[in-house]
C-alpha cells in the first residue's frame, strides 16, 4: 500500500524565508563593514575555521584526481619536454666549460698584487709600432711596464717623461719579452718579439715543445716590470725548427690597438 508522505502545505514557509533573507542581509552588512576596515568579520572567520577540515580533505582529493588525470593525458607532452630538457642540460654543460675557460683566461689577465694606472692613447704611429700615453713619471710609470686593455697586453713602456710616455706595440721588432704557453701542462716558456706586422713571434727553446694552433700565450713574469699572466694572444701558426732545437710560433695579439683609447698601465 502506498503511503503518501507528502507534507501538508505549511503557512510558516514564507515567514521563515523572509526572516532568513533579512538575517542574511544583516550578515552581509557586517561583512561589508569589516571589508571597509580591510578585515574579516567574526562570522566569516568562524565559518572558515569550521569548514577548513572537510575543505582540506576535499581539496586533497581534487588534487589527486587532477594529477592522476594529467598523468594519463600528458605522458607524450612530458616525454617531449624531458627530451628538450636533456638537450638543454647538455648545452649548459658545454657553456659551463666555456665559461670556466674564459674565467681562467680572465683571471690570468689580472695579475694579483699589482696596481694599474688608467691612461689614454693620445698618439699612435702604426708604422713604427709606438703608442703615446698621457701618463708619465708623475703617475709612477717606468720603462718596461705593460699597457693593457680589457682584451690583453697592448704594448710595453719604452720611454717616460714627466707627464707622458711612449710604448712599443707587440708587433714592434724592438720589443722582446718573456711569455709562456698557458695551454700546455706544465706551461712552457718562450721569448716573444715583434715581427714588424701585427704579429708576435714566440720562440720556444725546445724541439719537442707541444705548441699547437690556438694555444693561449701570456706573459711569463720573468721581468721586474711586466707581470705574469697578461694575455698576449693565441698561436696562429707553428713552425718546428729541429735544426735549431726550437719551435717558433706566430701569435695573433688578443688586444687590438685600433679599438683602444682608454687603457691601463700595470704597475
Amino acid at each position: 500500500m502506498r503511503r503518501d508522505r507528502r507534507p501538508r502545505r505549511d503557512r510558516n514557509g514564507p515567514t521563515v524565508l523572509a526572516g532568513l533573507v533579512a538575517l542574511g542581509l544583516l550578515v552581509g552588512r557586517a561583512q561589508d563593514m569589516a571589508r571597509g576596515a580591510n578585515g574579516l568579520d567574526p562570522l566569516t572567520t568562524t565559518a572558515q575555521m569550521a569548514l577548513a577540515p572537510p575543505a582540506i580533505a576535499v581539496g586533497a582529493a581534487i588534487d589527486g584526481v587532477e594529477r592522476t588525470a594529467e598523468g594519463w593525458t600528458a605522458t607524450a607532452r612530458i616525454a617531449e619536454e624531458n627530451r628538450a630538457l636533456r638537450a638543454r642540460l647538455a648545452a649548459i654543460d658545454l657553456y659551463e666549460e666555456r665559461v670556466a675557460l674564459l674565467e681562467r683566461e680572465l683571471a690570468a689577465s689580472r695579475p694579483s698584487g699589482r696596481r694599474s694606472v688608467p691612461a689614454r692613447i693620445v698618439g699612435y704611429a702604426a708604422s713604427e709600432g709606438r703608442l703615446t700615453l698621457d701618463v708619465g713619471r708623475r703617475a709612477g710609470i717606468t720603462p718596461g711596464m705593460g699597457v693593457v686593455n680589457r682584451d690583453g697586453l697592448l704594448a710595453t713602456i719604452q720611454t717616460v717623461t714627466t707627464t707622458g710616455s711612449v710604448a712599443l706595440t707587440l708587433g714592434s721588432p724592438s720589443l722582446r719579452f718573456g711569455v709562456m704557453d698557458l695551454s700546455t701542462t706544465p706551461p712552457i716558456v718562450g721569448l716573444a718579439r715583434g715581427t714588424g706586422a701585427d704579429e708576435t713571434e714566440v720562440t720556444f727553446y725546445s724541439p719537442d715543445a707541444p705548441v699547437r694552433v690556438g694555444d693561449a700565450i701570456v706573459t711569463s713574469g720573468f721581468s721586474a716590470a711586466l707581470p705574469r699572466g697578461l694575455i698576449v694572444g693565441r698561436v696562429a701558426r707553428v713552425s718546428p725548427r729541429p735544426e735549431f732545437g726550437q719551435v717558433r710560433a706566430i701569435v695573433t695579439p688578443a688586444a687590438d690597438v685600433g679599438a683602444s683609447r682608454a687603457v691601463e698601465v700595470v704597475r
Binding site: V21, A50, L51, P54, G59
Partner: protein, 153 residues
C-alpha cells in the same frame, strides 16, 4: 524527519566546504554544490526546513569564500523554498519541471554572481554558466526520483 533534517544540514555543511575547496582551484568553472544541497532539501523536506537548509548552505559558502554571503544565502533559500513549494515535483511524472526549475535557479545564481564580479572572459563564463545550469538540472533529476520513491515507500 529529525534524522532527515540533520542529514540535510550535514550535506549543506559538506557542500559549502567542497565548493570552497573547488573554487580555490577553479574559481569560474565547476559544480555548484550548495545549490545541489538546496535542491535536495527542497525536494525532501518540509518547506520551512528546506528553506533553512538552503539558506545555511548558501551562507556558509558565502562566508567561507568571503563573497557576498547575503546573496548566496538568499538564493540558496529561494531555490529550496521554490522546490519545496511545488508538491507535484515530488510526482515522478514531472521531471521537465524539475530540470527547468533547477537550471533557471543556477542561471540566476551564476548570472547575479557574474554581474557583481565580472571576469575577463564573459563569453567563456557564459558558456560555463550554461554548462553548470544543465549539469545541476540533470543532477536534480535522479535526486528527485530517489526522494519520490522513498516518499512512496
Amino acid at each position: 524527519m529529525t534524522g532527515r533534517i540533520g542529514v540535510a544540514f550535514a550535506l549543506a555543511y559538506l557542500a559549502a566546504a567542497g565548493q570552497w575547496a573547488w573554487e580555490a582551484r577553479h574559481p569560474r568553472l565547476g559544480p555548484d554544490l550548495p545549490v545541489l544541497a538546496a535542491i535536495l532539501a527542497g525536494l525532501s523536506l518540509p518547506r520551512p526546513w528546506a528553506t533553512a537548509v538552503g539558506w545555511t548552505a548558501g551562507l556558509l559558502h558565502g562566508l567561507a569564500a568571503a563573497q557576498n554571503a547575503a546573496l548566496y544565502a538568499g538564493l540558496g533559500a529561494v531555490v529550496a523554498f521554490a522546490l519545496a513549494s511545488f508538491d507535484r515535483l515530488r510526482d515522478e511524472e514531472a521531471p521537465p519541471v524539475v530540470f527547468v526549475t533547477v537550471a533557471l535557479a543556477t542561471l540566476a545564481i551564476g548570472g547575479v554572481r557574474t554581474l557583481l564580479a565580472p571576469g575577463e572572459a564573459l563569453g567563456r563564463d557564459a558558456v560555463a554558466l550554461l554548462v553548470a545550469a544543465g549539469t545541476n538540472g540533470l543532477s536534480a533529476l535522479p535526486l528527485r526520483r530517489i526522494v519520490a520513491r522513498r516518499d512512496r515507500g
